[in-house]
Symmetry: C2
Subunit: 662 residues, 2 copies
């Protein structure tokens, strides 16, 4: 006799309780509440093959309520993935175990996204569903034909980002997105009645979603709901009515089960309640067999898919596409053309010009903007909208949803086969910062196009003028920030971003900048992070280190200093992170380790001076803006904030006099 | 004969067109589309008196769609506020004009909030409405009885934060909140159909809101809708169907009117269309008179209110409450008690202990948490929930809405009479970062309680462990970050935050820390930013600069160094911003300006080392974590990341050897 679905689900409950108990840390409530629903999904509906976790046409499963990580660890183990092993699970939340506190895609195959920051799993799933439809439009059902499933909790559905994700999915009619809502009426603080009186189902319906409700503790009912969701052409919300910590007889239904071990006595009581064996981390053979059989369901489907791929005319293209390498043959002719016809161009426009070449050479790119297309210059001429009428389009109108856009891009990159880039104003990097962090943590190739990168945007004023943003983003591990100084550097930065497998962020100007790199270079100098744009003529006493729009100013300061007989290098530093990663020899050549009394280092950037001591040293000079901006035309602002060549030169020479250098 | 409402509205259209034209920059579309609705509100419903813009019982008006700033500038000018003058309006978006690109509360009385970052105006209005009901519960209708009105655009209603704000307002049944939605079906990229298929009205209804629709170009119809909204006990959404740029005959209804000057020809055509006088910045006398009469409506109400206040027994308390000064008499006895009974306490718990004293001494505080009450330790024993059953409560269960919480706190502080504080995990400061920025820009007294401030939180892993957050927040102008090292510093930091009129952020540990400040001090040493916690015994060769939980470690490192005959100061630096603001004498005493070869400076903080060069110099040593964290118990993590006394001492001595200091 086959074990019942409930007995299969109880294996999840057992492992979840045991692992949290052993770690004395973790969240048993969610996995225990959603065990039946997850069992329905993983034994009957989800398309996957534990033997090949990276099978491109697998369904994606995202545990948006990431704190319930033992749910996914249990599922991967039980269905037969190589990892996590039972030992991995025993070491849940211990150093070195892939079973981290929250699921991390870089630790375990089968974990499709790193979750825990609430709402973002759902929003990344929207991106996965976009990528799926897009690739389906190109490669057809025979190669791309899968669904994206999400388990979301009340936290996911209260976070603002879910409004953006739900709105985007509804608008794009992503019918292959199916969200199982763990409706257990409990959050950390207690009943959801403490903070919410919303009709969640009605809200989703208002956003163009199909909705269905079921008893989340009855896997048969959940299966029926999933079948309805699959049948409906709209994205679906399945309201699974559950009880948090189900099976723990004295604690279930309370926030006590949310984020702490149940305790030995309650675990024992739960074992009795659920008919489990007594030993921890022990699953009866018939249950293991039944789970493994369920896990093997996908092998036949995958074999058939492999056969279709082998026969497909598009095989090579498809495989290359998924391998993710971006053609860089566009770069040299593009640079040659720029140098042949030097003219003042805003770097946001230079970026568009680079994209005109890139989007031809790299068919995987999908662009977009959070409702600032004309300002971010993210759309190239040939790009058609990606929408429900044409998923094959390559430009997403994300709407006024910066965070939703960024998270969707993470999901697209995680899905694979596409290279997403998207734009907003630099100041609104704050709105999507939690998703930028997940780009960096997950190490996905997402390219952020952040325009209007300083007070140079002018009249919109301090709410729209980045001050602290460049440094705040540079402080984030795993993200590379580029701030190019002209059209050549902009193209080089794009090339570096496309060559990387990590996220990149381009900070671009609204205002025009002259071409400073007027000669062809043997290598991508921007990828070096910093380089000597112009060496001192007179004996070097000053090194001017500038980024982006301030490099032009640094060149004029250098002219003025040289006019006074003071030799000044101009160092363009489009990326501090790239510079820090260079060899000692390169770094010592650009910024020699001599005292600031011998050679004064000066940083010039139209943003906070915080952190620039890393390059100037304590006794160097930092020119920047350590307050919020103001509303005025650009030239007035640069003058007001002391960022003109005259004013900077005066500060440099005054500083040199004070330090007895002159 | 009285001028028609339409003629009054056209004065707004005229000024908006003219100002944007003169600046050749700005957003005419919104003010022109919403002129009739705003006229209805400001001539018939809104309670205000231009003579006293700070009248505490005035209605609040928030232009959440802040790009339409000429709407509020026109209204303030026309109704008779002292500023903006017509000259101010002529200088719209020019340096020094209070008519900035986006409305700024610190530039003009009558601008209740700084808006432009979309969605946040609405979310701040929710906070204002909370503060109103709270003070009403204490002081009654005779002193506090006003409404909060919002003009929101499609951007505001697409941004994720609006979901949090709408949810919170619906849950708290803030019936005095009335939102006028400028439903013009246009965003910057074009039609809203490009990115949204949502039934906005149904979504609000699902969140417990009253909704009503009207022709937004008919001020009579808008008035009727406002009356219905006032009559309903729920928060109200008024859908005003409008045409963007209404009156510009060739451009209205298109995104061309959104964010650019109309151009001379179109302005001229609009003048004809609207029956305006030919000269720019000129309003006929009868129109000015009618506006001034409307503006004078409130004088009588204010006089009556002043009379009630004069007679009120609560007058003194009410006035002191609004003046905003916080009693600090709680501090000394609290510190004495801590020192009398030294024991290891997590600073999040020390914060709760301070709050137990503060919430008695300072009746204006309103606490809360984004669903982490027990973790953030933000609720004190006597605090009752602030909810629709008891607006007099002093604790808000904000739900899983970090951004909504932060923006609501901004609104509460802007309203006045309350001092909001609220908690979440430090890592989720990213989720509310755009609102923290507006706290700083607006210079409001909001206190952020950010707990679990490092890898010290342990098992939850890298998604929950702040790395770059401390430095990223310190980079923000106008925000003071405190990271106290023990219970005494925690109380001092609270005292400093309460004494300030700016926003503060407290970074607090999950883990226990010993009491390091075991003797009473003559002054608030934490408010100095940094101080010598323990001077070197042997000749000083090292200064250990540490913050928060790492000060304890620095003390042990100092022990070990002294054991090797190396004199080491321990400097506790709870606030870099406060330290930077001290006198040269104080700073030079703590960190003498001698070479790192003479005295080595070492920073120790369990976060990014980015920016610590400001205190260590280039040749100092920075101990920290320049990658993402990991999931493991705390002690394993501190060891893994090299943050133990043994490992740090070894690095210090190795560095000294390398630099020939030993």
């Amino acid at each position: 006799m086959q074990p019942t679905q409930r007995r299969l689900a109880n294996a999840i409950r057992a492992l979840s309780m045991d692992a949290v108990e052993a770690a004395n840390s973790g969240h048993p409530g969610m996995p225990m509440g959603m065990a039946d629903a997850a069992t329905a999904l993983f034994t009957r509906h989800l398309k996957y093959d534990p033997v090949d976790p990276h099978w491109p046409d697998r369904d994606r499963f995202v545990l948006s309520a990431g704190h319930g990580s033992m749910l996914i660890y249990s599922l991967l183990h039980l269905t037969g993935y190589a990892r996590p092993t039972m030992d991995d699970i025993r070491n849940f939340r211990k150093l070195g175990s892939p079973c981290a506190g929250h699921p991390e895609n870089f630790e375990l195959a089968g974990v499709e996204a790193t979750t825990g920051p609430l709402g973002q799993g759902l929003a990344m799933a929207v991106g996965m569903a976009i990528a799926e439809r897009h690739l389906n439009a190109i490669y057809g059902d025979e190669l791309v034909d899968h669904r994206t499933y999400v388990v979301a909790g009340d936290g996911c559905l209260m976070e603002g980002i879910n409004h953006e994700a739900v709105g985007l999915a509804g608008h794009l009619k992503l019918g292959r997105l199916i969200v199982l809502w763990d409706d257990n009426k409990i959050t950390i603080d207690g009943s959801t009645d403490l903070s919410r009186n919303e009709d969640v189902v009605a809200r989703h319906a208002a956003c163009g979603w199909h909705t269905v409700e079921c008893d989340g503790l009855d896997s048969g009912k959940v299966s029926q709901a999933i079948e309805k969701a699959i049948a409906d052409p709209r994205p679906s919300l399945i309201r699974c009515k559950t009880i948090i910590g189900y099976g723990a007889p004295n604690k279930q239904g309370t926030s006590a089960t949310h984020g702490a071990a149940l305790g030995a006595a309650e675990v024992e009581a739960a074992r009795k309640e659920l008919g489990l064996v007594d030993a921890a981390f022990t699953i009866p053979d018939d249950i293991v067999d039944a789970w493994r059989t369920a896990g093997a369901r996908g092998a036949r489907l995958r074999a058939a898919w492999q056969e279709r791929l082998a026969k497909s005319k598009k095989r090579k293209e498809f495989e290359e596409r998924l391998a993710g390498k971006c053609d860089d043959s566009w770069l040299k002719p593009h640079l040659d053309a720029l140098i042949a016809d030097p003219k003042p161009i805003a770097t946001r426009k230079s970026s568009e010009m680079a994209l005109e070449a890139i989007n031809v050479a790299v068919p995987a790119t999908i662009g977009g903007s959070a409702d600032l297309t004309g300002s971010n210059n993210t759309k190239t001429k040939a790009q058609l909208p990606l929408d429900s009428a044409n998923y094959g389009g390559r430009y997403v109108y994300y709407g006024i949803r910066e965070f939703g856009m960024a998270a969707a891009m993470n999901g697209m990159a995680l899905h694979g086969g596409v290279v997403p880039y998207g734009g907003t104003f630099m100041v609104f990097s704050d709105y999507c910062r939690p998703a930028i962090r997940l780009s960096a943590l997950q190490q996905v190739q997402v390219i952020y196009v952040m325009t209007h990168d300083s007070i140079g945007l002018g009249e919109d004023g301090p709410t729209h003028q980045p001050i602290e943003h460049l440094q705040s983003l540079r402080a984030m591990p795993g993200l590379v920030v580029y701030r190019p100084a002209d059209a050549v550097e902009t193209a080089e930065c794009w090339a570096a971003a496309l060559a990387d497998d990590k996220p990149s962020l381009l900070a671009l100007t609204r205002q025009n900048l002259p071409l400073l790199r007027t000669e062809a270079a043997a290598e991508n100098l921007s990828a070096k992070g910093a380089y000597r744009l112009r060496p001192a003529s007179a004996a070097r006493r000053v090194i001017l280190i500038a980024t982006g729009s301030e490099v032009e100013i640094a060149m004029k300061v250098a002219d003025q200093l040289e006019g006074q007989g003071i030799g000044a290098d101009v160092v363009s530093m489009p990326s501090t992170e790239c510079f820090d990663a260079q060899s000692d020899a390169w770094r010592d050549d650009i910024l020699p380790d001599v005292s600031n009394r011998e050679i004064l280092r000066v940083s010039i950037e139209a943003g906070t001076t915080f952190g620039w001591e890393r390059y100037t040293g304590l006794h160097g000079l930092r020119i920047g803006i350590d307050r919020f901006g103001a509303s005025a035309p650009i030239d007035d602002l640069y003058d007001y904030f002391g960022l003109t060549p005259d004013k900077i030169t005066a500060r440099v020479t005054a500083h040199m006099q004070k330090r007895d250098m002159l």
